[in-house]
């Protein structure tokens, strides 16, 4: 798989769960009545049952698709030894935005590099608004009906240009319409950070360091790193700004708009403290806002400062979604930004007050069309790249937000779910993430191996790529760029045919 610029997408390598018992939606119970006839092994298209040493076992029950199964084993079992029921553990998982189905389907994608065959709703969540009420309007599926073989995926172009100002900065672009959002060293482990950045490099895209410095381990991937300058200026050095192609200013974060960041003392380990030039064990506050910026003119000084240090760097401006987000976007463009990055109110975080996550600033689905329209009316839309983040969970969310006016998206939580995050919401407690993802605890960090993490994220994004390619083909498009702002490809269920 290679294209014009010689970029070659990585292959899917099946990468199973780190845990002995992966969590699935269904449970199959086999009683001692089983006569080991092997009928279930033959029937099951998903490899749930295996025959070993004359015995038949339910070995991969997490792959069972339940009532969606075309040939249910439990109905066919000659002695009635099999019974199917819902997995009670599954009921405890998930929430309105990331339903248990979405978690499990993301785990499936991270394992197999493709969307789940059945049994799981992998396209939408249960939030009853925004993305979850929007549907893509696709033409009738001719290929499926006429049995026409699919064109190779390379025929559909998913790449996005990031420097649309056409100035002297790098002509950076990405091969897929997504890059990794900022997650700092300290809030996640170095293995998590490296897994994301390695995966980004393999996929021909970028990944942001977040506010917490630029560890030396990332050096081999400089060409794929976005480094962040946030309000605390932690770990910001001229040397690191010079190294990268894209520098991101974080003005605000969707999960806690208008509030500063807070890294609890427990997470400030010697490594983190060194990177952030701080004291071990003391909590770190990232203030809000940049106290050097109180106007667009001040903001321009910021941008100029980066350009003076690294004249070829693209400047991205990450902002949240207040009522005047359109003015902020246009101001950022005139200040010289290449990328305006909107982080909507449902975005992820290592720790934020619940009141801020729920109430402050508007959902991305409202902000993005507003910004797209305003930039278009201003006549500058084609000279700035609009990136959306904050609640992008699935390839369908990607397609929907692009149709609402984005050029591409930024992901965060999805990457962590690929690493088997269960969204227990305890990232910040005590030693940090018990599953070894968002932690700097030396023992817990050991739970993830770099190669495993990288491949899981690569697999998930290859599944996204495949799905986006399929969607574009169904829309009759050859490039993701054709989809930008095409709200006619969307329908909102509450307003349908009214």
């Amino acid at each position: 798989m290679s294209n014009d610029n010689g970029h070659k997408f990585p292959e899917v390598v099946r990468t199973t769960s780190r845990f002995r018992n992966p969590i699935g939606k269904y449970r199959l119970n086999r009683t001692s009545d089983c006569i080991a006839c092997g009928k279930c092994v033959e029937l099951c298209p998903y490899g749930v049952h295996v025959k070993r040493r004359g015995r038949v076992l339910v070995e991969n029950q997490y792959l069972c698709v339940g009532p969606d199964c075309p040939e249910p084993c439990h109905a066919a079992c000659p002695v009635g030894a099999l019974s199917l029921k819902r997995n009670p553990d599954f009921e405890v998982l998930g929430d309105f935005r990331w339903t248990a189905d979405l978690l499990a389907s993301t785990w499936y994608m991270a394992e197999f590099g493709k969307v789940p065959p059945a049994g799981l709703e992998y396209k939408i969540g249960d939030s009853a608004g925004g993305f979850d009420k929007l549907r893509l309007v696709l033409k009738a599926d001719k290929t499926a009906k006429e049995g026409v073989s699919e064109e190779p995926d390379e025929e559909v172009d998913l790449s996005v240009e990031l420097n649309r100002r056409k100035d002297h900065a790098h002509k950076a672009g990405m091969k897929v319409p997504f890059y990794g959002g900022g997650m700092s060293y300290g809030s996640v482990s170095i293995t998590t950070m490296l897994s994301r950045i390695k995966a980004a490099a393999m996929l021909g895209t970028f990944c942001c360091t977040g506010e917490g410095g630029y560890p030396d381990e990332l050096k081999p991937y400089d060409a794929h790193v976005i480094t962040q300058v946030a309000t605390g200026l932690f770990g910001v050095r001229e040397e690191t700004i010079k190294r990268v192609k894209i520098v991101e200013f974080k003005y605000a974060q969707g999960a806690k708009p208008g509030l500063g960041g807070h890294l609890l003392g427990d997470k400030v380990t010697p490594g983190v403290a060194r990177m952030r030039e701080a004291v071990v064990g003391y909590p770190l506050f990232s203030p809000f806002p940049f106290h050097s910026v109180y106007s667009v003119e001040d903001h321009k000084k910021h941008v100029d400062w980066i350009k003076a240090i690294n004249p070829r760097a693209l400047v991205s401006v990450k902002v949240s979604t207040p009522t005047d987000v359109d003015m902020v976007a246009v101001g950022s463009y005139y200040a010289g930004a290449h990328i305006i990055h909107l982080d909507g109110s449902y975005g992820g975080t290592g720790a934020a007050p619940d009141i801020a996550k729920k109430n402050i600033a508007m959902p991305l689905e409202y902000a993005l069309p507003k910004v797209h329209r305003f930039l278009t009316e201003e006549g500058v839309r084609d000279r700035i790249t609009v990136i959306a983040s904050g609640g992008i969970r699935t390839p369908h969310d990607v397609a929907k937000i692009i149709a609402l006016g984005a050029d591409g998206v930024c992901t965060g939580t999805a990457d962590l779910v690929a690493l088997e995050c269960v969204r227990c919401h305890n990232c910040e407690r005590g030693r940090g993430c018990a599953r070894g993802i968002a932690t700097t605890d030396p023992e817990l960090m050991e739970l993830i191996e770099l190669e495993w993490g990288t491949q899981r994220i690569v697999n998930m994004f290859l599944a996204w790529r495949k799905e986006l390619t399929r969607i574009l083909r169904r829309l009759g498009m050859r490039s993701i760029r054709e989809l930008v702002g095409r709200t006619d490809c969307l329908v909102h269920l509450d307003y349908m045919n009214k």
Binding site: I23, D89, P287, A352
Partner: protein
């Protein structure tokens, strides 16, 4: 500038074990007795500190489990599972949801703002206050850093009628007396909820909290017993119909409330005879067309009006009219009449989360009155057994007043800090400036329609995905 107002909270543990959202089910049968059992590896040490609460017959592991699911996913015989706790789901009702109740418990225990990792897990929007978002300032409108104490944000409000202007005589003295005003350091008044297994200790605890916080505790006049004598200046008696002696004992009543009725003038006169110095608030149930009543009350010289919604935050006659919209239209009507500053508007009913304070004020209230949260702070599970004459599962009536006061101060302290967070993000430095600032909010009805209205057409033969 008033001296900086801070609420001092302190950890005040539950008296009973809280009901948890899910429980651990660990089977012993078939256990392999592995040398390195997953239970030993628990990151939170849940299984090590395990103990049985004999009073409630509850296993402590459920309260300590943080839902990482590692034991569930690690046990070789799959003997450990998690299960949704039906008892948790049964807490409260459709409005006072288990999550709201559990978060109030947490705030009352710790005095802290609920903070968590990962993004917002809830629905896109919802009815009432859940259909609005508050604004934040970015780049060009500076925020205020109130929460870490670097900048002062005032949450004080005045109760009563503020003058439109001042006039001075030739000597430079004020020409006429100002209307009496009561100022309270936070826009929250407490009031006794419709039910609860209360004792004199409970009421005393609430009164102590009101005094400690510098605000008021509203309760029926006939509940003011001798035990509350010392707290009279922090109490807001509700005057029922008929003669009552409220102004006896030490310290003057400063604020009282009269329910609206056709003959409200008479009731107010009677109340004023009892307590000449007190400010009078009239409690008016929220109903369709309430604006006219409010305007006529203000025109007749009433300076404090308490707009009361049902415990679910709705109008008494129309379930589709939410307190949020009621406040907005009353505020708007008063502004149009040019009399908004001549009165104080208080709102109550269904205020269950910290954000409801800021949102009520943005919609046009000066302050709010909070009822059930001060009961839930005392571990109330909203089971309503007390309304049927049954015993309270958490024996609220037996709680000492000092514990009651501490829990309520914690809750209100956490709410005040959350108000500061929201105001800071908006760049507002005085809560009085927030009143009616609908430009600092975004409303679902407007945003959703303008964004998606045009996305309704589907041609025939198309598939939706």
């Amino acid at each position: 500038m008033p001296s900086k107002y801070m609420i001092h909270t302190k950890q005040t543990p539950h008296r009973f074990k809280a009901v948890t959202e899910s429980g651990i089910i660990a089977w012993e049968e078939g256990c392999l007795k592995c040398a390195v059992c997953v239970k030993k590896g628990c990151v939170y040490g849940v299984y090590e500190d395990r103990g049985l609460d004999t009073r409630q017959m509850m296993d402590s592991i459920d309260n300590q489990c943080m839902n990482c699911l590692r034991c569930v996913q690690g046990c070789p015989k799959e003997l450990i599972h998690k299960s949704v706790n039906p008892e948790y789901k049964a807490i409260g009702d459709s409005y006072w949801t288990p999550d709201i109740v559990a978060k109030l418990w947490y705030q009352a225990e710790t005095g802290k703002i609920p903070v968590s990792g990962a993004g917002y897990p809830g629905p896109f929007s919802g009815p009432g206050f859940d259909s609005m978002w508050t604004d934040m300032s970015e780049i060009v409108r500076p925020t205020r850093d109130g929460i870490h104490g670097r900048e002062y944000i005032s949450t004080a409000i005045d109760l009563g009628k503020t003058p439109n202007h001042l006039t001075f005589n030739e000597n430079g003295d004020l020409e006429r007396d100002l209307h009496p005003l009561i100022d309270i350091p936070l826009p929250i008044i407490m009031r006794n909820p419709d039910f609860g297994s209360l004792s004199e200790e409970t009421l005393k605890g609430w009164a102590m909290a009101a005094r400690g916080l510098g605000t008021f505790m509203a309760l029926p006049g006939n509940m003011i017993t001798e035990a509350l004598e010392d707290f009279r200046s922090s109490l807001m008696p509700l005057i029922g119909p008929g003669p009552q002696e409220i102004d006896k004992g030490n310290g003057a009543i400063r604020l009282l409330e009269v329910p609206w009725s056709e003959g409200w003038e008479k009731a107010v006169d009677m109340a004023r005879q009892q307590s000449s110095s007190a400010q009078v608030s009239i409690r008016l149930p929220l109903h369709e067309g309430v604006e006219k009543k409010v305007i006529s009350l203000v025109a007749s010289g009433i300076s404090i009006i308490h707009l009361e919604a049902t415990p679910h935050g709705r109008a008494t006659d129309h379930a589709s009219l939410f307190l949020k919209d009621g406040i907005r239209s009353v505020h708007q009507a008063l502004v149009e009449e040019g009399i908004r500053d001549g009165m104080t508007l208080l709102a109550s009913g269904g205020l269950s989360m910290a954000e409801h304070v800021a949102k009520s004020i943005i919609c046009g209230a000066d302050g709010v009155m909070v009822d059930f949260p001060i009961l839930i702070a005392l571990e109330c599970r909203m089971c309503r057994r007390c309304t049927k004459g049954l015993s309270c599962p958490v024996e609220i009536e037996a709680a000492p007043s000092s514990w009651v006061a501490s829990r309520v101060i914690n809750l209100v302290g956490a709410w005040q800090n959350q108000l500061l967070e929201m105001m800071g993000a908006m760049g507002i430095r005085d809560v009085r400036r927030l009143r009616g600032e609908v430009g600092r909010a975004m409303f679902f009805e407007e945003l959703d329609r303008t964004t998606f209205e045009s996305m309704g057409k589907v041609e025939e033969g198309c598939e939706l995905e």
